[in-house]
């Protein structure tokens, strides 16, 4: 079967000594940074990206994938032990996970999260391998109009799932699109919004925005809050393995979570986040078995289901990136940036022109998941130690990594000035309650959207109706409008608010 041939190619690439090592290093570094409270996967990847510059492209992407999974696992560890969600998708894990930790059952909670994620990761990888080729076929049929509409759908999908005001999120996307246009216009050669600064004619480096807004901005915001006494469960992690009873309850929850996560992850937008929320809601709706702990009081299903959903979604969210070249969320937007640095234009052509990279990456995703489970469960004690590192040591180190990383990207001090400016902007965003993730997504998509709009309108001789007369494009736009309407419906918008308030 072709699927297995392809996977064999992939494992052939991934199982070289060098790539295994990079995958392992990525997982370790990702977990190491991801465990630190208040640093989500976006900041982690942005911070560690410079470490991959010197590597060959395949190894660099494999390491980045490892970093991503590591950051996700690390985030759930922090969520369970410190009651502090490192990222939005582990918000629901906190509810029951922390309660389990308080009852001295942190071990089983961590194991449930780890094993559930591993299973979900395996399924997600298989789905990715199976669905990527047919979807790529579809992608080759896409014209510029379809691509443009698809990006609109993706961007709308991303804001619909974001918490907070919808209008503000849309405005942040538009702002991101505009920032993405800074630099030389590929078609006319005109340097736009560069203020005669030579460095700006190449455009703003996306690492600068990511580190400024997510790194500096967050640090300043965190520092301005008074240090609260966090309860860290260091001593109480014992008896790592879940009991037989736990397993009996966990398994159906993991299966449900995986199915839901895999399906929702493919959708553009924060699939992993929605999947985690939906999975938790479904578990809550199912009947409690006799003798089971109620939800919100430390039910193991409340940890296993959202964590599996989250990880399955994280895996399948690679599908739109690898087949269509369109990042569905901020993390994937960073992956696009990383690929471009290594001269790979993400999109349907990657699979045919670069099969080793494509299948190697997919195989290494599974490997990454396997490594994490081997790494994380025995090493949990070490990660917990990290949680006790005081923030006053942490934040100067993060500032340093950001500054070194930004300078190292282009060996240019101009980027260092720029990251400072974006740090200020990031803090302003924080103060004004606007979420920065849509901005990053818009920033990456800006030039792509303009190019596809230009081509579509050129082909139609300036007739905008091309977007609604071509069936696929019309369907995608209709889906985007539908999404917006659904969210704006009074009944749903109220529900949506509740869902985000619950944490």
């Amino acid at each position: 079967m072709e699927l297995f041939d392809n996977l064999a190619t992939g494992f052939g690439v991934a199982f070289t000594f060098q790539n295994l090592i990079y995958c392992l290093i990525g997982c370790i570094l990702g977990t190491l940074i991801g465990v630190l409270p208040g640093i989500g996967p976006v900041a982690t990847i942005a911070m560690l990206l410079p470490a991959t510059y010197a590597l060959p492209p395949v190894a660099a992407l494999i390491m980045l994938a490892g970093i991503y999974y590591g950051a996700q696992y690390g985030g759930s560890t922090t969520a369970i032990l410190v009651n502090l969600p490192g990222e939005s998708s582990s918000v629901v894990t906190v509810i029951d996970g922390y309660q389990m930790a308080r009852k001295g059952r942190a071990g089983p909670a961590l194991a449930a999260a780890g094993l559930g994620s591993f299973f979900a990761g395996c399924v997600g990888t298989l789905i990715l391998a199976a669905f990527a080729p047919p979807l790529t076929e579809v992608a080759f049929k896409f014209g510029p109009a379809e691509y443009f509409s698809l990006m609109v759908l993706g961007l709308i999908g991303a804001v619909v799932l974001a918490s907070g005001s919808l209008l503000k999120a849309v405005a942040m996307i538009v702002l991101g699109l505009l920032l993405g246009l800074v630099g030389t216009d590929v078609n006319s050669g005109v340097a736009r919004y560069s203020f005669d600064i030579p460095e700006l004619t190449d455009g703003i480096n996306f690492v600068v925005i990511a580190m400024g807004v997510f790194g500096y901005g967050e640090i300043i915001a965190n520092l301005s809050k008074p240090e609260d006494d966090r309860e860290v469960f260091t001593a109480k992690v014992q008896g790592l393995f879940p009991t037989k009873e736990d397993f009996k309850r966990m398994i159906p929850a993991v299966l449900r979570g995986t199915a839901l996560g895999a399906a929702l992850g493919i959708l553009p937008g924060g699939g992993a986040l929605l999947a985690a929320f939906a999975a938790y809601t479904i578990e809550k709706k199912t009947k409690l078995q006799p003798g089971e702990v109620p939800f919100g009081k430390g039910n193991i299903r409340g940890v296993a289901a959202p964590e599996s959903a989250n990880n399955a979604g994280a895996q399948t969210s690679f599908i739109p990136l690898l087949t269509l070249g369109i990042p569905p969320n901020a993390v994937m937007a960073l992956m696009v940036g990383a690929m471009t640095i290594h001269n790979i234009q993400p999109g349907p052509q990657v699979m045919t022109s670069n099969p080793e990279l494509f299948w190697g990456l997919i195989a290494s995703m599974w490997l990454g998941n396997a490594m994490l489970i081997i790494l994380n469960l025995p090493l949990i004690g070490m990660w917990i130690k990290l949680l006790t590192v005081p923030y006053r040591w942490l934040f100067p180190s993060i500032v340093l990594f950001c500054a070194v990383g930004v300078y190292g990207t282009n060996n240019n001090t101009f980027d260092v000035w720029l990251v400072g400016i974006f740090g200020f902007i990031g803090y302003v965003f924080h103060k004004l309650g606007t979420e920065p993730a849509p901005l990053l997504l818009g920033f990456i998509l800006g030039p792509m959207m303009e190019e596809n709009l230009r081509r579509a309108l050129l082909l139609s001789r300036g007739d905008w109706s091309v977007f609604v007369t071509r069936p696929i494009s019309a369907g995608l736009l209709a889906a985007a409008v539908l999404l917006l309407i659904i969210v704006l419906l009074p009944a749903v918008s109220k529900k949506r608010e509740e869902a985000f308030v619950e944490d």
Binding site: P50, A51, Y53, A54, S165, L167, K168, V170, A171, L175, L177, L178, L181, D185, N187, S188, V190, R192, Y193, Y216, I220, A221, L223, S224, P226, E227, Y391, R392, W393, F395, P396, V399, L400, C402, A403, V404, Y407, G408, T413, V416, W417, G420, G423, F424, Y427, V428, K431, L432, G433, T434, M449, E450, L453, R454, L457, L458, S460, G462, D463, W464
Partner: protein, 162 residues
């Protein structure tokens, strides 16, 4: 008119201002028409869209009631200043400012400066502790970035290494 959500009101104003600025800037480039988009076409559309969105956000902020007025709250000027200052000091010391005749001091000096200045943003400051932290980070960075990853950094002051 009363502001019911301070955060929304001012973020709306910000989007409005930025949108207008981008739209006005776009008119400096040739706009063209749909069939032949000039470099100003797409930014002009987006700028106008952003200004409209900003207006809408500002408008809603004066109409829709929010629970506690959504106050922006105090600005953390001290933290903001020291974090950004440490960043700028790092840049200046690392590579120097050739146009102002400031020599490059290299990575190690820059790291010490960054850690010391950044630490001033924290609640407590213990010079000895910060010194140890800076030393660990300097050695670690040298090993990781210069020795292992071979990134091109000026490591020592330019008047020593030449």
């Amino acid at each position: 008119m009363k502001i019911k959500s301070q955060k929304d009101f001012f973020s709306g104003l910000m989007f409005m201002g930025v949108g207008v600025a981008f739209a006005v800037g776009a008119t400096n480039y040739s706009v063209g028409n749909g069939a032949r988009m000039g470099p100003g076409y797409f930014p002009l559309i987006l700028g106008i869209l952003l200004a409209i969105l900003g207006t809408a956000i500002t408008f809603y902020a004066t109409v829709v009631e929010s629970a506690d007025g959504d106050k922006i709250g105090k600005w953390a000027w001290k933290q903001l200043f020291f974090i950004l200052a440490s960043n700028f000091a790092f840049g200046v010391l690392l590579a120097g400012l050739p146009s102002f005749g400031v020599p490059a001091m290299g990575l190690i000096v820059a790291i010490y400066a960054l850690v010391f200045i950044a630490s001033l943003a924290g609640e407590s400051f213990n010079a000895k502790e910060v010194f140890i932290l800076a030393t660990i980070l300097a050695v670690g960075s040298y090993v990781a970035f210069v020795w292992a990853l071979k990134l091109q950094f000026p490591v020592w002051p330019s008047f020593i290494s030449g």
